[in-house]
């Protein structure tokens, strides 16, 4: 991986990367804007103004309680991204060291670490979320933790596989011969070389996290009222589908847009960062 492969102009020649990063940047921008302020308070109800179509005061209309749909969708972006980013960070913080440790040590400890990771992997995020709800009660933190726990084995496996394939590479062997400790080798030589892979995985997990958060909130295990969330907006809109499809379309399209953006970005990054694919492309 040499420096020139990151040249900006080359990156943006890749179509899915360019499109994906533009879409993701949009969502992040909106989420940041919503942190400063939304056009209206996304939790303020005005029942007299309920179920109104788009107007100057409410660009995307109002929901069943007269809340501003645009403000809710914007605030929902913040919640979605925050939960998803935190969950990925959680997965990296625990998964990467676990995978590295197993790959470097080998033997029985390796087995143990990877079997633990398999064990966690066996529980879908939904089951974990239901369990956590019984312990801590429902909430955004619960969703974050549930998705985060689900992310741990994913990162552990990716790290393990990649780190294992590095073990026989010349520069690793050289480092070992020169007397470097295992930890140093892992941090100095292996981690930088598997970083591209982790970045790609992180992008994919981010998009899965957005979906998982929406699903958890939709069934009432994630973000709790009155906090806005795309999943909750969808749930609220469900019985109103025939009357005001707009209410379901707005959060639905927000989710599609964000997930699509992240997936395109991930695809692009994988193409650009994976040396094998690069070689094949010639």
């Amino acid at each position: 991986m040499t420096a020139h492969s990151f040249s900006v102009s080359r990156l943006f020649h890749h179509r899915s990367f360019a499109l994906g990063s533009a879409m993701t940047a949009c969502v992040i921008l909106v989420a940041l804007m919503a942190m400063i302020g939304t056009p209206q308070d996304p939790t303020a109800m005005d029942i007299a103004q309920k179920m109104q179509g788009p107007s100057e005061a409410h660009w995307l209309g109002t929901d069943r309680y007269g809340r501003d749909v645009l403000s809710m969708a914007m605030a929902g972006a913040t919640v979605s991204l925050a939960v998803s980013f935190a969950a990925v960070a959680f997965g990296i913080a625990f998964g990467v060291p676990l995978g590295l440790f197993a790959a470097m040590r080998g033997g029985a400890l390796d087995e143990a670490a990877m079997r633990i990771s398999d064990f966690i992997f066996a529980f879908p995020a939904l089951i974990t979320a239901i369990m956590l709800r019984e312990i801590f009660g429902p909430g955004a933190l619960n969703a974050m933790l549930a998705i985060g726990i689900f992310n741990v084995p994913v990162f552990a496996r990716v790290t393990y596989g990649a780190a294992l394939s590095m073990q026989t590479r010349d520069f690793v062997v050289a480092a070992r011969l020169s007397g470097k400790g295992e930890t140093r080798i892992a941090v100095d030589h292996i981690l930088p070389n598997i970083l591209p892979l982790l970045i790609v995985q992180a992008t994919i997990q981010l998009s899965l996290g957005i979906l998982a958060e929406a699903a958890l909130s939709y069934i009432g295990l994630g973000v709790q009222p009155p906090a806005p969330s795309w999943g909750r907006m969808l749930n609220d809109a469900q019985t109103l589908m025939a009357v005001a499809p707009r209410l379901a379309l707005v959060p639905g399209l927000c989710i599609v847009f964000t997930v699509l953006g992240l997936n395109l970005l991930g695809d692009g990054l994988r193409d650009l960062l994976d040396p094998r694919l690069k070689r094949r492309r010639g």
Binding site: T43, A44, M45, I47, A48, K50, R64, Y65, G66, G137, P138, G220, Q224, P225, P226, Q238, T239, L240, M241, A242, V243
Partner: protein, 496 residues
């Protein structure tokens, strides 16, 4: 090949359309698919409080000595007539002759005595034991005559006997009624496909008028979106209480359906734990009453279909007084009252059971109380948890709940009820009411009781749940109102 297939399909379709059309012309339908929201835990109304039990078996399968008419009046059931002694303490019932249970067992005064004694026994599991508490003795005069002596005159006794919990059961089958209910009604139990539907079929040996239907299927479809789709697709012919008010306008626009917005007895309240600080302070309770805008809650949680209430009493019942103007929405006054009570930064938990009126109402109430400086945390729970934490455990600050029992002013006089009201003046008032049988005096006392509850602002009284009935426009005989949580389909018929 594809073309042949398509032709074959088309021919089949055409044939089936012709088939449907010809059978529809021959005679009106005699089956009914009715939607219900919750699956009952079992089918014995004398052993379980779930309203879903009565919604299936009352009047259709089980009958009581008296029964409730669609307008809430008490009419003869298995007792064809009765006389009341001058002191109001002795009721003599003349029972119908020739009545048998679905298993062939005869119904007579001995069976009636068995039923009443079983319901009021010390080890009875009847969910409404209070209905039978006034009974002192039950006597069989002859097989067609039953004499019931009361401890004191009880104005509502005939009404009590019309409840689902007071239906007549046979000594031979009473123990198995939970899974194989055996009654005297015009329909008998056929099949219960758990999680999906319960079928009743016509009872050929019914003593009374033969019903027009010969089969009723109660289909359990609780999800509002699925219920809407099932109605639209014709899988359901009737949904006596449709679960999503937001779909009502679409049914109203569609000529295939009849929509009736009627009354239930569901008094929907924000119940307050009167024993817990600061809700033990009347000023705080009044502040909450001023701080909740009923009109907005009704608009947002029931799509504007509900009627507001000002006390724990339904507008259609005898003796109602309109107290809805007692606490008009006034956030400033609410704030002043809270300040007067020395309460600031009040944080409270609002427990919300699953129905929409609670979940949606809770969101709105929380937003409104925020404006008067009360920080409400919403706690959504399942029914089992609500029953154990709130109803039995009395471990809660506030909760939103609908009390569907008719004229249940007695619950505020109970010592150990989950409101923790425990007010001696109200108890005295209720004791007087329970012992009064003169209709006018009763009305006056009922009015006084409503005023007392509103004045003490025991709970925040919000609205009466509407009965949003939707059914096929060709159906007649369904109830517009729900004076009891029941679906009496005995008079339902299809028009040609």
């Amino acid at each position: 090949m594809v073309r042949y297939l398509a032709k074959a399909c088309f021919a089949l379709l055409a044939l089936s359309v012709v088939g449907v059309a010809s059978s529809a012309m021959a005679a009106p339908r005699t089956d009914l698919n009715a939607g219900i929201r919750l699956e009952p835990p079992h089918l014995d109304p004398s052993a379980g409080a779930a309203a879903a039990i009565g919604e299936i078996v009352y009047a259709n399968l089980f009958e009581g000595l008296t029964r409730m008419a669609p307008d809430g009046a008490i009419v003869p059931g298995l007792a064809e007539s009765w006389t009341v002694s001058a002191d109001g303490k002795t009721y003599t019932f003349t029972l119908r002759k020739g009545v048998t249970f679905h298993d062939g067992a005869p119904f007579d005064a001995n069976v009636a005595k068995f039923t009443l004694d079983r319901a009021r026994a010390a080890d009875s599991v009847n969910p409404q034991k209070g209905l039978f508490e006034p009974i002192d003795a039950v006597e069989v005069v002859d097989p067609a005559t039953l004499k019931v002596t009361l401890k004191r005159p009880t104005g509502a006794f005939l009404f009590n006997l019309a409840w689902p919990a007071a239906v007549m059961v046979s000594p031979q089958s009473a123990a198995d009624n939970k899974t194989k209910p055996v009654g005297t009604g015009p329909f008998k139990f056929e099949r219960w496909a758990k999680g999906s539907q319960i079928d009743l079929v016509r009872n050929p040996t019914y003593w009374g008028k033969t019903p027009a239907l010969n089969k009723i299927s109660f289909k359990i479809i609780g999800d509002p979106a699925a219920a809407y789709a099932a109605m639209m697709a014709g899988d359901l012919d009737a949904y006596p209480i449709f679960p999503a008010n937001e779909n009502i306008p679409q049914f109203q626009k569609d000529p295939r359906f009849t929509v009736k917005i009627g009354n239930t007895e569901g008094k929907t309240i924000v119940a307050l734990n009167n024993a817990r600080k600061p809700f033990d302070d009347i000023r705080v309770r009044r502040a909450l009453a001023y701080g909740i805008d009923r009109k907005a809650v009704i608009e947002g949680a029931t799509m504007g279909l509900a009627k507001p209430i000002g006390s724990h009493y339904a507008p259609q019942d005898a003796g109602y007084v309109d107290l809805t103007g007692k606490y008009p929405y006034d956030p400033e006054k609410a704030k002043a009252l809270l300040k007067e009570a020395g309460v600031s930064n009040l944080k409270a938990k609002l427990v919300l059971p699953p129905p929409d009126y609670a979940r949606r109402g809770g969101e709105i109430v929380a937003a409104q109380l925020k404006k008067i400086g009360v920080d409400v945390e919403l706690v959504p729970v399942e029914w089992a948890q609500w029953l154990s934490d709130v109803f039995r455990g009395k471990n809660y600050d506030m909760t939103i709940i609908s009390h569907v029992e008719p004229m249940d002013l007695d619950i505020y006089a109970r010592d150990d009820y989950y409101f923790n009201y425990n007010n001696p003046d109200y108890k005295a008032l209720y004791t007087e009411l329970a012992a009064t049988s003169d209709p006018d005096k009763r009305k006056a006392l009922i009015a006084k009781a409503q005023e007392k509850l509103a004045d003490d602002s025991v709970n925040v009284f919000m609205f009466l749940l509407p009965k949003t009935g939707v059914w096929n426009a060709k159906l007649d005989g369904l109830w517009e109102n729900a004076p009891l949580p029941v679906n009496d389909f005995t008079a339902v018929r299809w028009r040609d």
